[in-house]
Amino acid sequence: MSSRPVSSGQLPGEPNHARRFTTIWLIATLIALPLVIFVLGPELPPGNASQQAAGKVTDNTVLLAMATPVLLLVTIYLIYAVIAFRQPAGGALEGPAVRGDSRIQTAWIVITSALVLSLAAYGTVRLEADNGAGSGNGPKPLTVPSGPKLPVQVIAQQWAFTYRYPTYGGVETTHLYLPDNETIELHVTSIDVIHSFWAYQLGVKADANPDVDNVAFVKPTKLGAFDVRCAELCGIWHGYMYDKGHVVTPSEFATWIAQQQKQMAPATKVLPPYSTTYLPEPTRRAE
């Protein structure tokens, strides 16, 4: 070991790799970031069909904007290292015996911790700013939107979603119609296994657990149809629990619900009274 040559960190004629790499990375980031934020950002899912979904487009843009420099850093570094730091063919050279650098390590720890903690803080703010951002908050949400809310119950069963409107006589329907620009309070529950109510364009996802009332808030802002899918494996027809919901104007909604009340009157008569959870028979093994 003592007969090995000793050299300084910088060999003569060798380019300043640190400066080169940092320049390349900065240029790449300066090109990519505006593209990500302004061109890609507004197109990100889940779209702008509801207040919650629009908030998440912003959220996804922020996340992507924070991920882009990191992605570029490591990827460009890998490519740079593969090109610049090679063993010449058949050579047996060794690199500098550096085991660490406390400045770089500290900087890395501080920067990643700051990034990550700020993301956690931003995520929390985003979560509660939109009253759960369309997710299922459980029976007792942390923040409840003020003002009037339309309660709609989503009953998940094997293998279809049905929807109940408690303020309209507890009428139950097979299709989900929601009035535009009103805050909807969704109560998602299941009567058998675990399902998940996923209204894609509205940015709503709430698991349906038996005997649990899972509350999600959404305020649709665009008229049109949205996809409803089941997002938790619930058996043979899990992938086929697909439906189309509609966001309509409040007057169209009033017409529709009145028509449903008339049409589904025989069914409404035999329905149990509205409750946030149901445990219909058989609750254990069927006889």
Partner: protein
């Protein structure tokens, strides 16, 4: 010179007739006793079932208790047939312990109980490889079905079973994917020990895994299982008998994992050679240690959860049935309390292999050794505090979500340390692009993507849209397959010259690598888009607008399967036909396992070595004047 009593000379085949040689405690006896044990267990189960409390058996034509007890009896019979009961029984009878298990020579050792950790390592390599391919074939079936947005080839029941089998097989088998073959083979050598702390338990973990794999594949005879690898209640209660195969498989896997971790921890803690302080331990051994902690603490949770599910299915308890007073949440929480450390069990050994191989191929010491160690231990510790991020939209208490979002974000900090160490080691290195090194570099890229997508998923608002969709699938395939499996292949190409004394063909290896890397990214990168476009997991039908993307993914998956075939061809070609002998240290590594001769002697070392530094003594020392610390021993 070695004077082990049994090693005076290699015993030659004695010329006994084949049928005489087959009698004894070996695989054939094990299979026979396993089948017998199955029938004994099933008989006991049917007898109990005949009682009045199980009227449901008559209505459903299902005999869950008989099947579960049959599997249990089968496994017990199988293990007895292999000879695992010999040592406990002979000790209980006061007889001295038999060393016979380690003395046997020849290829027969690989098909039975062998307490030589090197033999167990190779058994694991082949055994896990076989089940990896079975899981991979399931994946090919899945992608074939997903070529069309309407169900075409595979019936909906069978499709769910195949999806479940793919996930379950992979998760169950690949948790021991690196610890099984490589840690078992090399940890004792790396730490200067002659054996593992508990050699028989080591062999037991392997055979438990093999029995488990067989049990899982037998599920197709019993109707398959519809729950996917997560096995959620109450669906697992409604399921037909095939669910019991899943329960039994994972219980055995959990047992195997816990014992494997225990063995590793005991070995690493107690059997290090003189001079091998914790700060001189190879980073691979550190990763094994961190993984073992998780295995020992998390795996028993799985076994307990599955026991409760089995009780619910057979004797009508209600742990997870809301109608009986239980809660479906209980299963989710118990499962994920195991499930999250489980995925770090998958990731950590990958970290270890990558950091272990980098110094060898960059001819530099490992940069940031202490940071890497604290990263691994940090990941290990934090992995127990994040599991509820799998339940963000399940309706858990809303107060908890910011906490788990924070803890999940925090766990990415120690994970980042590994990347810093990789990048630091690559800085101004002299990299030779051998096949193992290429896999290491690919790991870095893949795990980066996987890790960054994990940051998206840890953010609850974003997770609301991507939970239960193909985005999650892309994330975990990038971290598990792009991470663990790439590290697994790096380990294979790196260590096969030591394990088998033969070189794998370098050109074929490069073809395999490039095909696998390109096909892998082509398969799984679009899944992020599919998930964000609204395609849920575990479905065989999807919006027709997504068909083009699905066809692209399927074709890439077939190419990925082809790359595995090329690997297999390389194995057969290099190990059977060409058989190019490897020198004792083809990579010119300074690590201990390369300082022993090839093939490794039966007791590893003639004399226990004394360590005076860590194995990363590469590189040209920097003069103090340049401002960098001089390379000294740890």
């Amino acid at each position: 010179m070695s004077t082990t009593a049994a090693a005076a000379s290699a015993p030659q085949p004695t010329g006994r007739p084949l049928w005489r040689r087959l009698i004894g405690f070996n695989l054939l006896t094990a299979v026979i006793l396993g089948v017998a044990g199955y029938y004994v267990g099933a008989l006991i189960g049917h007898t109990i079932d005949g009682g009045k409390s199980f009227e449901y058996q008559a209505a459903t034509d299902e005999y869950d208790l008989a099947l579960l007890l049959g599997y249990f009896g089968g496994v017990v019979g199988f293990l007895i047939g292999l000879g695992f009961a010999n040592y406990p029984i002979s000790r209980m009878l006061g007889r001295p312990a038999s060393l016979r298990e380690k003395e046997e020579q020849g290829i027969g050792r690989y098909f039975g109980l062998c307490t030589d950790h090197k033999v167990v390592g190779i058994q694991y390599l082949v055994g896990i490889g076989v089940f990896f391919f079975v899981g991979g074939l399931n994946a090919m079936l899945i992608r074939t079905e997903l070529l069309h947005p309407v169900p075409t080839f595979v019936g909906p029941n069978q499709y769910l079973s195949i999806v479940g089998m793919h996930g379950t097989m992979m998760m169950g088998m690949m948790t021991s994917g690196i610890l099984g073959p490589f840690a078992n083979y090399f940890v004792p050598i790396m730490i200067g020990a002659r054996r593992m702390a508990f050699p028989r338990i080591e062999a037991l973990t392997f055979w438990l895994l093999m029995a488990a794999g067989f049990i899982l594949t037998s599920t197709i005879f019993f109707g398959g299982f519809p729950t996917g690898w997560t096995g959620y209640a109450p669906l697992n209660n409604e399921a037909v008998m095939g669910m019991d195969s899943y329960i039994c498989f994972f219980a055995l896997v959990g047992l195997s994992m816990a014992l494997l971790g225990l063995n590793m921890m005991a070995t690493i803690i107690t059997m290090r050679a003189p001079g091998l302080t914790w700060s001189r331990l190879p980073i691979f051994v550190w990763s094994v240690f961190a993984t073992s902690v998780l295995m020992v603490l998390a795996a028993p949770m799985l076994v307990a959860t599955l026991l409760m599910a089995a009780l619910d299915r057979t004797i009508n308890t209600s742990f997870f049935i809301a109608g009986g007073g239980g809660s479906s949440y209980l299963f989710e929480n118990l499962f994920w309390f195991f499930g999250h450390p489980e995925v770090y069990i998958l990731a950590l050994p990958g970290f270890g292999i990558v950091l272990e191989l980098l110094p060898v191929f960059t001819r530099k010491p490992l940069w940031g050794y202490r940071l890497a160690v604290s990263g691994m231990l940090g990941v290990s510790l934090m992995s127990f505090f994040v599991w509820q991020h799998h339940l963000f939209v399940s309706g858990i208490n809303a107060d908890l979500r910011p906490f788990y979002m924070l803890s999940t974000e925090i766990i990415s900090i120690p994970t980042g340390f590994i990347f810093m160490c990789v990048m630091g080691t690559l800085w101004k290195a002299r990299t030779s692009f051998t096949v193992p090194m290429m896999f290491v570099l690919a790991w870095t890229f893949n795990f980066l993507i996987g890790g960054l997508s994990g940051v998206f998923l840890s953010d609850t608002p974003s997770d609301t849209d991507t939970h239960g969709s193909f985005f999650v699938m892309a994330h975990f395939h990038y971290t598990i397959m792009g991470g663990l499996i790439f590290a697994f292949f790096a380990g294979i190409y790196y260590w096969v010259p030591k394990m088998l004394g033969l070189r794998l063909n370098e050109k074929l290896g490069k073809v395999h690598f490039w095909l696998m890397f390109v096909a892998f990214n082509s398969t799984f990168m679009p899944l992020f888009a599919l998930g964000m476009e609204g395609m849920p997991r575990r479905v065989s039908t999807y919006s027709p607008a997504l068909q083009t993307l699905n066809v692209w993914v399927s074709i890439s998956a077939f190419v990925l399967g082809l790359s595995m075939l090329i690997f297999l061809y390389n194995v057969v070609y290099s190990l059977i036909f060409v058989r190019k002998a490897a020198t004792a240290n083809p990579w010119n590594s300074k690590a201990m396992e390369w300082q022993v001769p090839t093939p490794v002697p039966v007791n590893n070392f003639e004399q226990i070595p004394v360590f005076d530094s860590d194995p990363y003594d590469y590189g040209i020392p920097i003069s103090v004047g340049a401002g960098q610390p001089a390379a000294a021993g740890a």
